[in-house]
Amino acid sequence: MPAVKFTLNGKAQTVDSVPAMPLLWVLRDTLGMEGTKYGCGMSLCGACTVHIDGQPVRSCVTPISTVAGKAVTTIEGLSADRSHPCQLAWMEEDVPQCGYCQSGQIMTAAALIAKTSTPTDADIDEAMRNNICRCGTYDGIRRAIHRAAELKRMGGAR
C-alpha cells in the first residue's frame, strides 16, 4: 500500500492506505480522529466536512490518494481551545442538540466566514443548505454564523 503524505492540522502526516479509501475513514479508523462524522457516504449530508487547502470538502468521497501534498484541517484542528469564532459563537448561541452534524456544520461555516466577512442570510442559505441537521438547529446555526462573523470582524478571536 502506497504511503500518502499530507499536512493534518498543521503537522506532517503519513499514512499507508489503499489509494481509494476516503479521507473520512483514514481520519476515523486509521488515525483515530473521530470528530469528523460519517453520515451518508455520498456527499449528501455534510457531516464529514473538513477543509482541504482552506476549502470545505466532503471527506466521505475524497480518496486519500488525492490528498497527497495538501493541507487538511479537521474540527480538532480548527483551534486548540474552542477559540475559533465559529466555536465561540456556537457556544454562545448554544446551537447543538444531538451534536452529530455540528462538526460538519462548523467546518462549513468556518469556510464561509473566512471568505465572506459579513454573510447575509442568503449567503448562509447558499453555503449551508447541503449540511443536514436532523434535530433542526438551523435557527441557531444561522444566528451563530452571524455572531461568528461579527467576532471575526472584531478581531477578538483568531
Binding site: 473521530e34 469528523t36 453520515g39 436532523r134 438551523y138
Partner: protein, 701 residues
C-alpha cells in the same frame, strides 16, 4: 464535560478521590436507599458523587440524543444539592435496578419520571453534607445551611466546602425523609440554562457510539436481505475475502457480516459479497397494493377505539354530512448518526458500547444472545447522534453481539446510511376514513373515523393504541364519536417514531376538523374554542397562540394561517403556521407555538425541542416518504429521502404557558401539530385541501 465512562475508569477516578459521598436511590416502585463510599465497587450506581476535590459528579441514568436530558436532569439534582453549577460534571452510569426496571429514553418521559426522584436524590445528599458539617462544628443541623458547594454555619458564618465534607458525609446514614424546596425557592429549575454538552459538541470531542475505539477492535458491516423477513439461502465470500483489510465473512441471524480492520474495507468487502436470498412472502408487497388494502379495510367496521353517543344515528339525522379520506406513508427515522454498536463478548462477560435509547433492553438482548446473566453484561451509554425512537430497538445491539461472539474479538458494527433507510422499523403507513355530521347551524354533532394501520406496541381486542392515538383521545367535545381500527400488517417492520401515532393521526384529526369549520362556515379558531370549552389548558394555549400569531389580522397577499393542536406526552401544544404557495412549492414563513408542558425545568430546552419537533414534522410534511416495491424500500440515501434544509426552516416563536402543574414531556410535543397547521394554512391561502403526506405539487394545483 462528559468523559467516556467505563467501569475501570470510574474506579480509578473514584478511588483516586479520597473518600467521597455517593448516594444511591431506588426509584418509585422500590423503596430501598443506599449510600456508601465511592470506592466500593458495589455501590457505583447512584446519582451524586462529591469528590474531595470539590467536584460534583452527577450520574445521568437516562441517555442523551439531543433532547437535553443531561442538562435538565442535572438541574433537578443540583437544585436541591445546592452545588455550584460550575463544579459539576456528568457521567452515564451502567444499567442497574437502582435506576428503575427499564432504563431508557422513550415517550418523552425523562423529566416526568425524574422530577421528584432526582430532586430527592439531590436533597438527600445535601442533608448528609449539612449533617457532616454540623458534627464537625459540634452544632445543631438547624444552624447550618447549604449554599454554593459549601455548608455555612449561620451563627459564625464559617464555611466548609463540600469536598472537605464528602468523606465524613459518606459514612452517615441516608436520611429517611427530606423536604423538597417550595418551587418559589428554585434558583435553577425554571431558568433558561445552557446545555452542559455543548462545549464537547463544538470541538469534536463528544463521544458518540460510532466513535468507540478499543484495542484490537475489528470493524463490521452486515448484508441483510433487501426484502423484510428474508433469509440467507447461501453465500459466496471469495471476492470479499480478497479485499485488502477483510478478515472474515460470517453468517449471523440477520444476514452475512463482513469483518475487517477498518470500516471502509468492510464496506468494500460487502460490495462484492454474493448472497442468495430466500426472500419470503413480503416480496410480493408494494405501496399501491398496501394502500388499496388499507382503503378497502376501512370500508368495514373495526375494533372500537372510542365510542360516545350514537354516531351512526347522529350522522343519519345531521343537517349536513362531510366525508374525506386521508393517508400517510411509511417514514424512516434517519438519525444523523447511522446505527452502530461495539461489543466485546468473552466467555464469562460481555461489554456493549452503544448510543441507545434503551440501556436495559440492550443489556437483555446481549444476555439473551450470549446466554450470560444480565449482570455479566456491561452497557456503556454513549451520546446518540439522534434517536427519534429508532434507538429504542435493540436489533443493532444484538447484531454487534452476534458478530463479536462469532469473530472472537471486540467488534464495532456500523450500519451504512442505506442500511439505516432500508432496514428500519418504520413509522407505519396509515389510511383513515372520516365522516362527520353538522347541525343546521354548522356545528359538528357526529364524528366517525375508521383507521387501517399496522399495529405495534401491543394489540388488545384488535386495537393498537399506537394506531388510534391522536384521534380516539381528541379533546374536542362532540356528542357522538366513533373511532375504530383495523390492524392490517403487510409485514413491513414498524415501530416508535417521534410522537408515534400522533405523528399521523393529529394530521388527520386537525385537518378534518378544519374541513368541518370550512363546511360549517366557522372560523377554525372559533370552532376549536367552542369544542374545547371543557379543556382549559388547551384552550389557554389556543388563545395564547392565536393572540401571538395575530389570528384574524390581515396578511400579505397569498399568505394563509393554519392552526392545529395536540395533546400528547402530557403536554398541550398549539401551533399556527403562516404559509404561502408558489409554483407548486410550499413556503412556511413562520410558526407560532404555544405550549403548556406543566412545570418547566429548562425553558431553553423547551424552546430547542419545540424547534426540533417542528423541523422533524415539517420534514415529514414537505419531503419524502418511504415506498415499497417487491417488498423492498425504494429509498436508499438522502437524495431519495430528503431532509428539511436551513433555507426551509421557518421562523419559530415559542410561547410557554406558565404552569405549576406536574411536568409534561417536550421532545415529541411539537411534531404532530406542524403538518396539519401547514396544510390548514395552505387551505386558507389557496383553497386546496391536502389529504395525504408528503404534500405533493399535484395536490396544490
Amino acid at each position: 464535560m462528559n468523559t467516556q465512562m467505563n467501569r475501570r475508569g470510574f474506579l480509578r477516578t473514584s478511588t483516586a478521590t479520597a473518600g467521597g459521598l455517593l448516594v444511591g436511590f431506588y426509584l418509585p416502585g422500590t423503596s430501598l436507599l443506599a449510600a456508601d463510599t465511592a470506592g466500593a465497587a458495589s455501590k457505583l450506581n447512584a446519582f451524586v458523587h462529591v469528590g474531595a476535590d470539590d467536584l460534583v459528579t452527577l450520574f445521568i441514568h437516562k441517555a442523551e440524543m439531543g433532547q437535553g436530558t443531561v442538562t435538565s436532569l442535572s438541574m433537578l439534582l443540583a437544585e436541591e444539592l445546592e452545588c455550584s453549577w460550575k463544579n459539576i460534571r456528568t457521567e452515564f452510569p451502567g444499567v442497574s435496578r437502582e435506576y428503575g426496571p427499564s432504563q431508557g429514553v422513550v415517550g418523552s418521559g425523562s423529566i416526568r419520571s425524574s422530577w421528584e426522584s432526582l430532586r430527592r436524590a439531590g436533597a438527600s445528599a445535601r442533608e448528609m453534607l449539612v449533617e457532616a458539617a454540623a458534627r464537625k462544628w459540634g452544632v445543631d443541623k438547624s444552624s447550618c445551611r447549604a449554599e454554593n458547594n459549601t455548608v455555612v454555619n449561620t451563627a459564625t458564618n464559617a464555611r466548609l466546602s463540600y469536598g472537605s465534607l464528602a468523606e465524613a458525609a459518606s459514612k452517615l446514614p441516608v436520611p429517611a425523609n427530606v423536604t423538597l424546596k417550595d418551587p418559589q425557592q428554585f434558583r435553577l429549575v425554571g431558568k433558561a440554562t445552557k446545555r452542559l454538552d455543548t462545549p464537547s459538541k463544538v470541538d469534536g470531542s463528544a463521544a458518540f457510539g460510532i466513535d468507540v475505539r478499543l484495542p484490537g477492535m475489528l470493524y463490521a458491516v452486515i448484508e441483510r436481505c433487501p426484502v423484510f423477513g428474508g433469509k440467507v439461502a447461501g453465500f459466496d465470500a471469495t471476492k470479499s475475502k480478497a479485499v485488502p483489510g477483510v478478515k472474515s465473512v460470517l453468517q449471523v441471524p440477520s444476514g452475512v457480516a463482513v469483518v475487517a480492520d477498518n470500516t471502509w474495507s468492510a464496506m468494500q468487502g460487502r460490495r462484492v459479497l454474493q448472497v442468495k436470498w430466500d426472500e419470503g412472502p413480503v416480496a410480493a408487497e408494494n405501496t399501491l397494493a398496501i394502500t388499496r388494502r388499507f382503503a378497502e379495510a376501512t370500508r368495514k367496521p373495526g375494533a372500537v377505539g372510542r365510542k360516545e353517543g350514537d354516531a351512526a344515528a347522529a350522522l343519519a339525522s345531521a343537517a349536513r354530512k362531510i366525508e374525506a379520506v386521508y393517508e400517510t406513508p411509511y417514514l424512516a427515522h434517519a438519525p444523523m448518526e447511522p446505527l452502530n454498536c461495539t461489543a466485546h463478548v468473552r466467555a464469562d462477560s460481555c461489554e456493549v458500547w452503544a448510543s441507545t435509547q434503551g440501556q436495559t433492553a440492550a443489556r437483555n438482548e446481549a444476555a439473551r444472545i450470549t446466554g450470560l446473566k444480565p449482570e455479566a453484561v456491561q452497557v456503556y451509554t454513549k451520546y446518540m447522534g439522534g434517536g427519534f425512537g429508532r434507538r429504542a430497538r435493540a436489533d443493532y445491539i444484538g447484531e454487534a453481539v452476534e458478530v463479536s461472539k462469532a469473530a472472537g474479538a471486540p467488534v464495532k458494527l456500523t450500519w451504512s446510511r442505506e442500511d439505516d433507510m432500508q432496514q428500519d422499523w418504520y413509522r407505519p403507513a396509515s389510511f383513515s376514513r372520516f365522516a362527520a355530521g353538522l347541525d343546521a347551524d354548522g356545528w359538528p354533532v357526529a364524528w366517525t373515523t375508521t383507521i387501517a394501520c399496522a399495529p405495534f406496541g401491543g394489540l388488545r381486542d384488535g386495537l393498537a393504541r399506537t394506531g388510534v392515538e391522536g384521534v380516539a383521545d381528541m379533546a374536542y367535545a362532540i356528542p357522538n364519536i366513533l373511532v375504530d381500527y383495523h390492524a392490517e400488517d403487510p409485514g413491513i417492520p414498524v415501530s416508535y417514531w417521534r410522537s408515534v401515532g400522533y405523528s399521523q393521526n393529529t394530521f388527520f384529526t386537525e385537518s378534518f376538523l378544519d374541513e368541518l369549520a370550512a363546511a360549517g362556515g366557522k372560523d377554525p379558531v372559533e370552532l376549536r374554542r367552542r369544542l374545547l370549552a371543557k379543556s382549559p389548558r388547551l384552550l389557554a394555549a389556543l388563545e395564547l397562540a392565536a393572540g401571538k400569531a395575530g389570528w384574524g389580522k390581515p396578511l400579505p397577499a397569498g399568505h394563509g394561517l393554519g392552526v392545529a393542536l395536540s395533546n400528547n406526552i402530557g403536554s398541550n401544544t398549539v401551533q399556527i403556521a403562516e404559509v404561502s404557495v408558489a409554483h407548486g412549492k410550499v413556503r412556511v414563513h413562520r410558526v407560532v407555538c404555544a405550549v403548556d408542558c406543566g412545570h418547566v425545568v429548562n425553558p431553553w430546552g423547551v424552546e430547542q425541542q419545540i424547534q426540533s419537533g417542528i423541523a422533524f414534522g415539517l420534514t415529514a410534511a414537505l419531503k419524502g416518504g418511504i415506498t415499497i416495491d417487491k417488498g423492498r424500500v425504494q429509498q436508499a440515501n438522502f437524495h431519495q429521502y430528503d431532509m428539511l434544509r436551513i433555507d426551509e426552516m421557518p421562523k419559530v416563536e415559542v410561547h410557554i404557558v406558565p404552569s405549576q402543574a406536574s411536568p409534561g414531556g417536550i421532545g415529541e410535543a411539537s411534531t404532530p401539530g406542524i403538518a396539519p397547521a401547514v396544510c390548514n394554512a395552505i387551505f386558507a391561502a389557496t383553497g386546496k385541501r391536502v389529504r395525504r403526506l408528503p404534500i405533493r405539487a399535484e395536490d396544490l394545483a
